[in-house]
Symmetry: C2
Subunit: 210 residues, 2 copies
DNA sequence: TGCAAAATTGAATATTGATTCATGTTTCAA
DNA sequence: TTGAAACATGAATCAATATTCAATTTTGCA
């Protein structure tokens, strides 16, 4: 029962082969796990199927029992990460008392998730060039949820009015870049300090105001 | 006398061959221009040298007279774009009366540049996976300049105090994502509206304050 | 003008790795 | 227990293309 519960999904996935037996399930999960490591470390183009199967401890041919192609498994990984990330962040945010607290919690969660899952993080980034539609879907799902939350908060009067769509993309970009710079590139940065500084910026802005 | 004046650079570039004649200069420039189109349209891995030379109207072998490898010309493009972008933005920003105006002008300039140079924009993004050091250098140069400007503005009291490094990366990420979403993906968005909404956010923040 | 350096060329080389497939093994519902 | 469906396998195929190189042409200085 590992993280790759995508497998259970009853929807008749486009992928040609959904495992029917216990063993099949296990093998597919091993392949996904191996692919995550391989693509995360070597990137999509340098990553090889043979190496994925070697890591998974199965024969080369087995790969094509579960995935149509190299690109197919890569897409599966991106979709998977989308769910994982959103779920994780939502969980960390759920009992924040208001939107500003939620922003902090969400940003903190994202940074920690990114640092703990550098491979998945890289895979999502790279999907922009391997499977652009997956990439867009990933961020559009993110942005839409974010937008809705901002909208609600504005209605409640917890934050100022403003274009929620643009704000959502702004805040996503901000977190992605801070995550890349301080959570992924720089292993040792104190993430709490980054959260504080960034929160200060998005809460109060640059203006010297009162 | 086109944009590729990198060529003139007197520094004895690592690249093995610096053209010595008028014709050589022209050929190298044609190759860079062709590579920009090819990589921009097909991406690094699907882009091919043969196709670059075809676009440039030269023989295949000619490529290796001017560039060590496929990766070398790609790197040259990234470096080139770094200069172009920073120069362009600096020019648009230079006579802003204060930092907040400069932020607006810089963001506007970036969006328009991105929309007008989608190929270069894509190449920079992709460099993260092809030549990560070029990618980092690109953004670090950006961030450092930005940081310095914020620092100066804070000293002058034009903006509130705060961590300028983190702010710089935040604002870059914000612009990069807005640029991707509204300038590159969506051809028809009114960029001025995006600048206004985003500026409102970074100037005044989310807080309902007075 | 003459010639050494610079530039041009594309066929041949060399490597790499995704995908196929025919055959053998394992699982599990009846 | 059993046999049809699922799984597993890796050698062979097939395609793609980056890079080299030896021969030829052009450029520009003395």
């Amino acid at each position: 029962m590992n993280q790759y519960s995508i497998l259970q999904s009853s929807a008749p996935m486009p992928g040609p082969k959904t495992p029917k037996t216990r063993k099949g399930l296990a093998t597919k999960a091993k392949l996904l796990e191996a692919a995550e490591a391989e693509f995360g470390e070597r990137g999509y183009h340098d990553g090889s199927i043979v190496e994925i199967t070697r890591r998974a401890g199965v024969g080369l041919g087995t790969f094509y029992v579960y995935f149509e192609s190299k690109e197919a498994i890569f897409r599966a990984l991106v979709t998977h990460m989308g769910h994982e990330t959103r779920t994780f962040i939502a969980r960390q945010v759920e009992d924040a008392p208001d939107r500003l607290q939620a922003e902090r919690a969400g940003m903190r969660a994202f940074f920690h998730f990114a640092r703990a899952h550098k491979n998945l993080y890289r895979i999502v980034m790279e999907s922009q060039f391997v499977a652009e539609d997956s990439y867009r879907a990933y961020y559009e799902a993110f942005a839409e949820g974010y937008r809705r939350n901002l909208e609600i908060a504005a209605d409640k009067g917890e934050i100022r009015d403003g274009d929620s769509g643009i704000r959502a993309w702004s805040l996503i970009g901000l977190s992605v870049f801070l995550g890349m710079r301080y959570a992924v590139w720089d292993e040792s940065t104190d993430l709490e300090a980054v959260v504080d500084a960034a929160s200060d910026l998005i809460e109060r802005g640059l203006i010297v105001g009162r």
